[in-house]
């Protein structure tokens, strides 16, 4: 039986401490935004969750490519784990965005390119899970999962560009802003520090969860093999 690696325990503790620190920073360290008020504080975790969502789907696509080349089931576990984490964080991203949009845009939802892309991404990876559920043979399930993770990930930028050809109202906080964006603001140094620390924290959460999920996946594989052995 595998014991939990020491490093993973350390990572768990570091991640929890960082999350507490980031939460404190969001509420007490960062100044209140002049126009939007306290609801702007959602921004720090909103962007960080979106970043983790994108990162997970990138990891899943890369793991898919490696699986198709090498044929090692380890990479299939990585891909599935990343997709599961990505779905959760992409959902957090959408929900926190809605909470912010209600007072600022005066609506829970609008079909802006980013919102459209986020929704489509969520749907693609839900379809990924449904595809896997429908296939019994583990090798075929892994191959199809890898193929769909690649195809899905490649379509995301195209969805974004096609939706962007419509006019956008989503603020671009980093880099050039599109004319007509509503709810934009400039970050003060304290805000920027909080924001960057949130990004780092969420990246740590991602790595920690991914590690745990991969371990669970491997143990599940082992249990499956042992069960097959006892049946024989």
């Amino acid at each position: 039986m595998q014991t939990k690696p020491r490093l993973l325990t350390v990572l768990d503790i570091v991640t929890v401490v960082m999350l507490l620190a980031a939460t404190w920073m969001v509420f007490f360290y960062a100044p209140t935004e002049a126009v939007m008020g306290d609801v702007q504080r959602v921004f720090y975790f909103h962007v960080a969750a979106g970043w983790v969502g994108m990162l997970s789907f990138l990891v899943a696509a890369v793991a898919g490519v490696i699986y198709l080349i090498r044929g090692d089931r380890k990479w299939d576990t990585v891909g599935l784990s990343a997709v599961e984490i990505g779905i959760v964080f992409a959902f957090i991203n959408i929900v926190t965005g809605s909470i912010w949009a209600r007072p600022i845009w005066n609506t829970w939802w609008t079909w802006d390119p980013r919102l459209t892309t986020a929704t489509v991404m969520e749907l693609i990876y839900l379809a990924y899970l449904m595809l896997r559920q429908g296939i019994e043979d583990p090798d075929r399930r892994a191959r199809f999962g890898a193929v769909y993770a690649i195809v899905g990930f490649l379509s995301v930028p195209l969805t974004f560009f096609s939706a962007r050809l419509f006019r956008t109202i989503h603020p671009v906080v980093i880099g050039a802003n599109a004319p007509g964006a509503e709810g934009q603001f400039d970050m003060t140094p304290l805000m920027l520090q909080t924001f960057l620390f949130s990004l780092l924290t969420f990246t740590f959460i991602f790595v920690d969860l991914l590690w745990h999920r991969i371990r669970v996946g491997r143990l599940a594989d082992k249990v499956e093999q042992l069960r097959l052995k006892t049946i024989q």
Binding site: L131, Y148, V151, L165
Partner: protein, 251 residues
């Protein structure tokens, strides 16, 4: 008298028959591709089950939209409605065709036969994609005049036809790959639209926008980004499907 023909059969003919299909050259690839497409088309010409289903379904969708969207003369003059309804028809009818086309291969064990054939796997992909494209274009060529007739709108615009062709290529390129996966799953008939629609959204978006533009006689420069997007999508996803199709049909 009897010995000579027997000798000819065993020595000359088999070699001649086998040689072209085993050739790895591009001539063999193209011939295999055309053979697979032709097999689908001739099967369809005899059974007519796929095209009939797609066409009747398309007409039913037109009928439903007529009442669901209340397409009175004022509403249907808006080209957004026309382009939108047309692309919904093509998307849904296309799913029906893709599902059926792959299911016949799977159900009667034809896919195994195709895989055993000494040809490149990508020839199977391109052959199936080409026949799917032909079916989709046939449906579109029939639906467009019928829609023109029923709603008194002139749809014979070369630009609109170009958009329809480009959109169908992108749709079929991804659809053929995903339907090959969907038929091998337990929930196959429900699975294809769920897999396909989120991935193919850029095509639908660009095709609807470009069709609307052509119907409104917008200048070509304004529509170019949408056409570019369609072309880029077609190229990227044909290439990706070509690369990964091997893994989808592998046993």
């Amino acid at each position: 008298m009897q010995a000579k023909p027997v000798k000819d059969d065993t020595t000359l003919l088999p070699r001649e028959r086998i040689a072209p299909s085993r050739m790895p050259a591009s001539g063999g690839f193209l011939r295999a591709l055309v053979a697979i497409t032709w097999k689908d088309i001739s099967a369809e010409l005899r059974s007519r089950e796929l095209l009939t289903a797609m066409l009747v379904f398309s007409l039913l969708v037109i009928l439903i939209f007529n009442f669901a969207l209340d397409l009175d003369p004022a509403t249907r003059k808006q080209s957004t409605i026309t382009a939108g309804v047309l692309w919904v028809i093509f998307t849904f009818a296309g799913t029906l065709g893709l599902n059926r086309s792959m299911a016949t291969e799977k159900d009667r064990g034809c896919m195994d036969g195709l895989l055993l054939a000494p040809v490149d796997r990508s020839a199977i992909y391109f052959g199936k994609a080409l026949s799917n494209l032909v079916f989709m274009l046939v449906v579109e060529i029939i639906v467009l005049p019928v829609y023109s007739l029923l709603y008194n709108i002139n749809l014979f615009d070369p630009g609109l036809l170009l958009v329809t062709l480009l959109g169908s290529i992108g749709y079929v390129a991804v659809g053929t790959l995903l339907s090959a996966m969907a038929v091998q799953a337990r929930t196959r008939d429900v699975l294809l639209p769920i897999l396909l629609f989120p991935v193919v959204l850029p095509v639908i978006l660009a095709a609807v926008k470009a069709s609307t533009g052509f119907l409104d006689d917008l200048p070509f420069a304004e529509l170019q980004p949408w056409l570019n997007l369609l072309i880029v999508y077609d190229i990227i996803f044909t290439a990706v499907a070509f690369m990964v199709f091997d893994f989808v049909v592998e046993e």
